[in-house]
Symmetry: C2
């Protein structure tokens, strides 16, 4: 038998006095619920239950199926953003995955809601999806973003070009090797989705690597709880500065939910700023930092991809670290990228799935 | 005498091999720093110190002033986003504040970098600023946002209208009283700045209230630590649904930094969704929730403003709750709003302040 606290029932009362029928929003504040509330009667009406409250005699009718679905139970973080709602991976797992690499063709993605849903679900579940055959034209990356959400504009613009520049404000715009990192750690809120669309390939090098930061964090926790706790408990300052911008943010390299579940990874050696801690804590932190960096850098963690023109990666920038190998400058590797957010992506997926509902 | 760990010095080495002179970004990863690093020599050069490391003989030259400014010291959250970097207030404090209410005239804000800096600083420090004389024309709110950052587009558009609508998807678009709340709690990342620009006033009612959620949270912590901990430790699900959107997010009503400092407030009775917890925990949570809601609703916490056409509020949506009284429908109250983010606002302020630097 299911049991429900009276105040919870009342706060979720679906009557038109308590819940606006148009918007589905609550009309009552918790302070408007009588104190000392109790259930004075519960009548079984078959598919529904009518609850009467003391002291005020208010009545709620709940569908039995709704009560079953929302019954008290183990605490959850919810929201779909922690390790509990993800498939953590090593590249070897993806090779064994029956569906293979999470990927989709852009024409199918556009034409078929089911394909679009599968691709967006992959970003939430695996942390990324690789779209093929996105026309290799400047600006197309914005169309990909618009297909599931809203562009997060930054100091780099609505979109940004990743190619060799004569006076780069960011090392991304050189031909150097870039180690696994997340983007914009100096932003808070950090952009939670990143897109990278390949327009031109380098003739040598410039390969893309992806690392599942949640899988690495889980491994760190299992192997060395003390290091994990130190990393999760120490805010690290990040910064970016050029002529028109000066950003700073301070967050741990591993972010936890209030229930201690892995919820975010932020890692970027290029833009880390001097850490201020007492002397002994600095030494301890650096030992942990090195351990975490070494674990992230293990070759067996990195999925290596060679993006060809028309490929567009969509990935979770709070989870997946990305890297690239050095490349030959003559060939003119050119990607375009932009940022967006996971909440909009998840909303688009939920609405797509509704279309299968009665 | 200042003491620095060798690994910290090396990680912050400013030489051109370690730090890209163009971008100021680090070229070395922590895994590239030799293990067992030690300082083998430190030479005093007057304004600078030259450090030599064992085992590899690398040398760093640090300005003495830089070392003094970045010396090891008490741990900080940094980033400027917690209670430690804010002025918490009750309306009575603002009345006594020599500068009065944080406000500015739009023409001065545009013309004078110092006025603009003062206004943006107020958003970071007090949580809001009230701009006057912003032309009461549709779309102007986007120009205000563009003056300090980037618009965060949402399902409500780049901007949204707050006025009575025949079939409102959100209770904001009715003439009802709206209790103190933060916006978009069902988004994650939540928009961290909100703007509300008054185009037309109601002839009765429709007054705006602002509550400093950080001040209220600090009071709750001082008065009832157990309730505070329960609120800060319990993720609450929020949701929004209409034909084209279905958002959900789950975060505590008070968010803490990893060091336990108040960092965010999320409160919105209208869009709270059924909480799933074990039976006993639901009862305990609801007692805490009521206590927190009552504290937020105290009239002495609420700053009441009557926005007139041309007024534009800019406020921190992670800290300041906003409310409005019911109003008479005939008068056609009309606000336009949009969202933006604190990181961009803080960057604009920092760059404005640089202009005073040599």
């Amino acid at each position: 038998m299911l049991r429900f606290p009276a105040v919870w029932l009342r706060d979720n009362c679906p009557c038109a006095e308590c819940l606006d029928p148009g918007s589905g929003q609550k009309l009552k504040d918790i302070t408007e619920v009588p104190t000392g509330l109790a259930v004075s009667a519960a009548e079984d009406m078959g598919d529904s239950v009518v609850v009467t409250y003391a002291p005020d005699g208010h009545r709620s009718t709940f569908a039995r199926s709704w009560l079953t679905a929302h019954a008290p139970g183990p605490a959850q973080d919810g929201g779909g953003r922690t390790e509990d709602d993800k498939e953590l991976w090593l590249p070897a797992d993806l090779a064994e995955n029956p569906g293979g690499l999470p990927e989709a063709g852009w024409p199918c993605y556009l034409a078929e809601p089911a394909d679009r849903a599968r691709a967006l679900d992959a970003v939430l579940r695996w942390g990324f999806v690789l779209l093929h055959d996105v026309p290799a034209e400047p600006g197309m990356v914005l169309q990909v973003a618009a297909s599931f959400g809203f562009v997060r504009e930054t100091n780099y613009g609505r979109l940004f070009d990743v190619r060799v520049e004569p006076r780069p404000g960011n090392l991304a715009c050189t031909s150097r090797r870039i180690l696994p990192h997340t983007d914009n750690p100096y932003r808070d809120p950090v952009p939670t989705v990143q897109l990278l669309h390949c327009l031109r390939t380098a003739d040598a090098g410039g390969e893309t690597g992806l690392v599942d930061g949640f899988a690495a964090a889980r491994e760190l926790r299992a192997a060395d709880r003390e290091t994990f706790d130190l990393i999760a408990g120490t805010p690290v300052p990040f910064g970016y500065r050029d002529q028109s911008t000066e950003l700073r943010a301070s967050q741990p390299l591993i972010q936890l939910s209030p229930r201690g579940r892995i919820r975010g990874v932020r890692f970027n050696n290029r833009s880390a700023r001097p850490l201020r801690l007492p002397y002994a804590e600095i030494t301890a932190f650096y030992a942990a930092y090195r351990r975490w960096a070494e674990l992230l850098a293990r070759p067996e963690r990195q999925l290596n991809l060679r993006l060809t023109p028309g490929d567009c990666l969509i990935f979770d920038n709070t989870r997946i670290l990305h890297a690239r190998t050095a490349f030959s400058v003559t060939a003119g590797r050119h990607l375009q990228g932009c940022y967006a957010d996971l909440d909009g992506l998840a909303s688009t997926l939920t609405v797509l799935r509704r279309q299968g509902e009665p």
